[in-house]
């Protein structure tokens, strides 16, 4: 009983997280490529409710930043206050992402800048980039697992239901795929494909590689379900009544595979999100200026940057809650499947 409730909580959390990422165009104060060259590596903004005279304001404000060259950091200039404004119209041409909207949740007036999670080396807002980058990373994970499960379903059904030589070929081919460590297989597949391509092509390529490389495990599991399901009493009965193969698959076998497909989805999606992050981190995925969690983390790879600008790890930390949530959901689903 308690398990069901916590499953619900984790699912709700996942929904919220995906929703927030989908609404990047609304939640992010800046376009992902907008540069503020005068503020490289600005620290996360501090939001003030009290002004420098100690008066309370309901509308929070942030203060101007002064580069402090001696310390190599920034100093807050409390005399320049920029109040936060809400539901600002988006500048024309600035709408981007999966859901380009014409309003932003918040922002500040022009000379002021608001970097909730700091800025990167080009003075781009890390918070906006984490949101937009999440769209790339999550979408890659979702699309690739969709592809993998689709392939696995078709091939697993074919192998399990019709058997014979189709089964033999598929299982032997699957062994070839499993003979390589997952990350090496991914990198090898990437190695033999063109390197310098534009972000859209790169995205499609990543989905195709990650999705096709991972078909074996779901296909094997689905084949197993089909093999046992084919011999179930009611399936044999339907066959005895003269039902065609197509009807049996559609009406009886396919519904049996649903729980496996669902559990596999919760296992594959986080794995594939990580695959995208890894490939982009290694410079083999989505390229700048389009952000993804992976290529944003690549900037933190230079340790002198990482040491003094901890907020550059934000995209990596963003993966944590989502991976944890998927893991918990997958755990729960597997527990429910095997009481």
């Amino acid at each position: 009983m308690r398990d069901h409730r916590s499953l619900g909580w984790w699912l709700a959390f996942l929904g919220l997280f995906h929703g927030a990422i989908l609404l990047a165009g609304f939640l992010a104060p800046y376009h992902f490529a907008e540069q503020h060259r005068e503020f490289p590596f600005a620290p996360p903004a501090r939001i003030h409710f009290w002004d420098q005279d100690g008066h309370f304001h309901l509308r929070p404000h942030i203060c101007g930043l002064e580069p402090d060259l001696a310390a190599g950091a920034y100093r807050e200039d409390r005399s320049r206050a920029y109040p936060l404004h809400f539901f600002l119209p988006v500048k024309p041409g600035d709408a981007a992402g999966l859901l380009p909207l014409d309003r932003r949740l918040f922002g500040v007036e022009a000379p002021g800048v608001i970097f909730l999670l700091g800025s990167d080396g080009y003075g781009r807002d890390e918070f906006s980039r984490v949101l937009y980058g999440g769209q790339v990373s999550l979408l890659t994970g979702l699309a690739a697992s969709f592809l993998s499960l689709g392939l696995g379903l078709v091939l697993g059904l074919a192998a399990g239901f019709w058997g014979g030589w189709a089964d033999q070929i598929l299982m032997r081919t699957g062994e070839l795929f499993l003979a390589l460590p997952w990350l090496y297989l991914l990198l090898a597949a990437r190695a033999f494909l063109p390197l310098n391509i534009d972000p859209v092509q790169a995205f499609l390529l990543l989905v195709a590689i990650i999705g096709t490389v991972g078909w074996v495990r779901p296909a094997r599991l689905i084949r197993g379900v089909v093999l046992s399901g084919r011999e179930r009493g009611f399936v044999l009965a339907a066959r005895g009544f003269g039902a065609s193969g197509g009807y049996l698959v559609r009406r009886h076998i396919l519904p049996m595979t649903f729980s496996v497909v669902l559990t596999q989805a919760t296992v594959l999606i986080p794995q594939y999100i990580l695959a995208e992050v890894t490939l982009s981190f290694l410079g083999l995925g989505i390229a700048e200026p389009v952000p993804s969690w992976g290529n944003m983390l690549a900037e933190a790879r230079q340790y002198h940057i990482l040491a003094s600008h901890v907020w550059m790890l934000a995209p990596g930390l963003a993966t944590l809650p989502i991976l944890l949530a998927y893991l918990r959901v997958a755990d729960r689903l597997q527990q429910n499947a095997t009481p």
């Binding site: 070839l176 003979a179 990482l306």
Partner: protein, 320 residues
């Protein structure tokens, strides 16, 4: 014996299949090492065609595969265009680096995982067990990449550990004990990282297989005979729970070459991972192929070893 021979034959066939498939893919790949040269206006197309002919890239595919196979049999694995030399020596040097890291970490992880897993299984259902399970699932969801970056930051901040590389400058002039200590000091963080990545999976499996045998009648019987707890767990229950762990151990062996790729890249360890990445970037397909083949060989061998160990450990398999 017949079983072992069959498994061995299967493994060899599998590796042949992998080699043929990856060779085909590398041949079909758009662009190669020379396609970068083509962008250079000073290099004429004739020169490139000449170079391609010189390196034998224009020969028919089966001929090239046969040539590659003979070269692989000699231990050369073809000619690396980016490093201007046979791949073999290059590969062996980097493999030593990777294996030093992964063997240490794997040993460490297993030595820790078995007692901790058993300890968790023994305290099943208590707060200690649920706390451990929560910690493990949090640890499991931390990507290696993030953990590695965190460790890197730790090393930079504290300056307790060296950043990158395997040896300090001037390593050659040190005495034997000093040399070992220096390498160990460089290894500490990458090994800790790797072991931390392996631990949650291992502990979970040890715990799960122990819990399974704890419920069996013979365990209850042994307990009723008053066998002390430590002896009960390590001498009676652990051998019975070993089967899934042997498979997992085979998998551990199989990933010895590949588990540390990301960590090597982030921590700057001179292993196979950075070499593989450079080969991909330079489109040096001979090197890519060799790395792919080596990692496949390790994985297949690991599975083979697990199968053979299982065969020895469990008489039930022999009957089948």
């Amino acid at each position: 014996m017949k079983y072992a021979a069959g498994r061995l034959l299967h493994a060899v066939f599998l590796l042949f299949g992998v080699s043929i498939l990856s060779f085909l893919f590398s041949a079909m790949a758009p662009g190669d090492y020379f396609s970068e040269l083509r962008l250079d206006p000073r290099v004429s197309p004739e020169t490139i065609a000449g170079l391609r002919a010189q390196y034998g890239l224009e020969r028919p595919l089966p001929v090239r595969y046969a040539a590659w196979l003979t070269s692989a049999a000699k231990g050369d694995f073809g000619y690396s265009l980016a490093y201007h030399g046979p791949v073999g020596p290059l590969l062996r040097e980097r493999m030593r680096g990777t294996l030093l890291l992964t063997v240490t970490a794997t040993l460490l992880a297993w030595l820790l995982a078995i007692p901790v897993g058993i300890w968790n299984a023994a305290g099943r259902g208590t707060w200690r067990d649920s706390a451990a399970s929560l910690t493990l699932s949090v640890l499991l969801s931390v990507p290696d990449l993030l953990l590695a970056l965190g460790f890197l930051m730790f090393a930079v901040e504290t300056r307790w550990f060296p950043i990158g590389g395997m040896r300090s400058p001037g390593w050659e002039s040190l005495g034997a004990a000093e040399r070992v200590r220096d390498v160990a000091w460089h290894m500490a963080l990458p090994v800790a990282l790797l072991a931390m990545g392996m631990l949650p999976v291992l502990i979970r499996h040890v715990r799960a297989s122990m819990v399974e045998v704890m419920d069996s009648p013979f365990a209850l019987n042994a307990r009723a005979h008053g066998i002390p707890r430590a002896r009960l767990f390590y001498r009676h229950l652990l051998p019975a729970a070993l089967n899934p762990l042997i498979s997992l151990f085979g998998f551990s062996l199989g990933t010895l070459l590949s588990a540390s790729l990301l960590i090597e890249v982030v921590m700057g360890w001179p292993g196979l991972g950075p070499l593989f990445l450079e080969a991909i970037m330079a489109r040096d397909f001979a090197l890519v192929l060799a790395v792919v083949m080596m990692s496949a060989t390790f994985l297949v061998t690991g599975n083979l070893v697990a199968d053979l160990l299982l065969y020895r450990a469990d008489p039930r398999i022999r009957v089948r």
